[in-house]
Subunit: 317 residues, 2 copies
């Protein structure tokens, strides 16, 4: 039996055939078009057929189709309530795709799917209770409880970047002030890096951007910190303290077996996680005498979207 994983993005829709071990047999991608979403899903279904055919498989060999989609999703119903990337509103993606394929379809928010992907196919395979934090433009999240994706009663759960880190702090896109996302996202790190550079004209980081502050990205402070630049080290340490405080919050709430970090910043790997662990140890992982939470970086790399989506139908649900 095989699973189909579909990673819906604003620019392309990636499709893959995945086996039980999490190997991608074959994959393909089509352009996301600004057309009626049901028509778009019809095109996706055709692409699945082609992909199966080219792999000498048929829909009979497929257990189900998982779809990871950006935006607000009601996973129980398979409805995309709202996706700003796709401009889809109240679209029953599950119903549409099931109509064209006659297969069981399960839809989830892409960050949720990524979290499940890590527990089914990735780095968190041996754990039961896992929190995933995706450190990118924002901070996304996924909650795995007893190896299952937590979806709540009406979806839209796991907005883990939107807990308050500093009451009345930085304004957040969600309407509140001081969200975790405003301190621990790549966007926040870039802001923190720029601010430190403006105060420290002698920082090595200026060389890293050829003197143009507009070139600052989420990697700059980390790479210059590794070279010993004092300003960069301070930026990284401050960023790690914000990130770790958020992780401590999630330790106290869930006492998870593992926190998996994904997204751009997570590519710093052990250089990042070692610093986080040191901070967590200083605060006893949130509380005295608590079991320690493993801090990992995402195991599924480039194909995380397809594998996360496939995991939606690979898990028992």
């Amino acid at each position: 039996m095989y699973y189909i994983g579909i990673d819906v993005g604003g620019i392309t829709i990636k499709i893959g055939i995945v086996d039980k071990a999490g190997n991608i047999l074959s994959k393909s991608a089509i352009k996301t078009e600004n057309i009626n979403p049901d028509l778009m899903i019809q095109k996706v279904s055709l692409e699945i057929s082609k992909l199966l055919q080219s792999s000498n498989l048929s829909f009979d060999d497929v257990k189900g189709i998982g779809v990871g989609c950006p935006g607000a999703i009601n996973g129980k119903l398979g409805v995309v309530k709202y996706s700003s990337n796709l401009k889809w509103t109240d679209f029953n993606l599950k119903q549409s795709l099931e109509k064209y394929t006659n297969k069981l379809v399960r839809v989830a928010n892409d960050a949720d799917a990524a979290a499940l992907g890590e527990i089914i196919f990735g780095v968190a395979k041996n754990y039961n209770n896992v929190i995933m934090l995706t450190l990118g433009t924002g901070v996304g999240g996924g909650i795995i409880i007893d190896k299952k994706l937590y979806e709540g009663s009406n979806g839209m759960v796991g907005e883990l970047g939107h807990i308050i880190m500093r009451a009345n702090g930085h304004a957040c896109g969600c309407g509140r002030k001081g969200c975790f996302e405003q301190y621990a996202s790549a966007t926040a790190l870039i802001r923190q890096t720029k601010s430190a550079m403006l105060k420290n004209r002698d920082s090595l980081m200026w060389q890293g951007v050829q003197g143009d502050i507009n070139n600052v990205d989420g990697k700059l402070s980390f790479s210059c910190a590794k070279l010993g630049d004092k300003t960069a080290i301070k930026v990284v340490d401050k960023y790690v303290s914000y990130l770790s405080e958020g992780i401590l919050d999630y330790c106290n709430i869930f006492r998870p077996d593992a926190v998996v970090l994904g997204g751009g910043i997570s590519k710093e790997g052990e250089f990042l996680t070692e610093k986080v662990v040191k901070y967590l140890e200083k605060y006893d992982y949130g509380y005295k005498g608590t079991p320690k939470t493993a801090i990992l970086t995402a195991g599924l790399k480039n194909d995380a979207g397809i594998l996360g989506a496939a995991s939606l139908v690979a898990e028992e649900f």
Copy 2:
């Protein structure tokens, strides 16, 4: 079939026989003694026998025994890892009580048991995903997912008062700074009340304490706010904003069907919840277009401890 609920406290241990509808048939209490915990549990077992006898019941009529206990509990093992109130450390309460009673025993932290009690017997009966916040000396919590108590892999979960509300804020007993508990507990409200009184000598609240600030309690600001005292109104509004920000955090994480408020402050009832709801509406319950979370106060009053404990064996687990 009946359930036994045991509410272990630092001063007394309350025991009750509970039926399926959540009625307490009979109850009793014994003094908590500073003796070997296994001996204490032997005394509890004797008291259960007496209580059953006086109700013309036997252990055969009992499905199981639930125990709510303060401190750090590993619910899966039934072990009290540490309880400062009881001075018990690494005590296998489940094993001890099962040895003396030959009945199935389940142990949980008392705040967790209270949360489950509300979903099995109390105000949250019709909901699946519920967060309970106990607003007392500290802020305790319980997490109910799909009508089941979330216990994590090693217990000690649901420390919902220990998420950061203000980075580097008030020092907290847990070792961190700026925890939610430092802003939303009854202790915090008393501190906030005193601080406002010292700045406003003309506040009605001074009359409420006969001029002695040591008499301030968690009710004072609420009762004077109801009488129109401007300082008291400001204190309550500020307190509500802190509490609501924490609730918004939990809305964004869990998107729960309901948040149940327990503990001393929750006795303010609708006067409190109406203010909280107004605040949540202002922030779209954490995010635009999200399903609304019901804000309730605990339904189980004086016997909440016994009923919460009994619910541990009343739920399917």
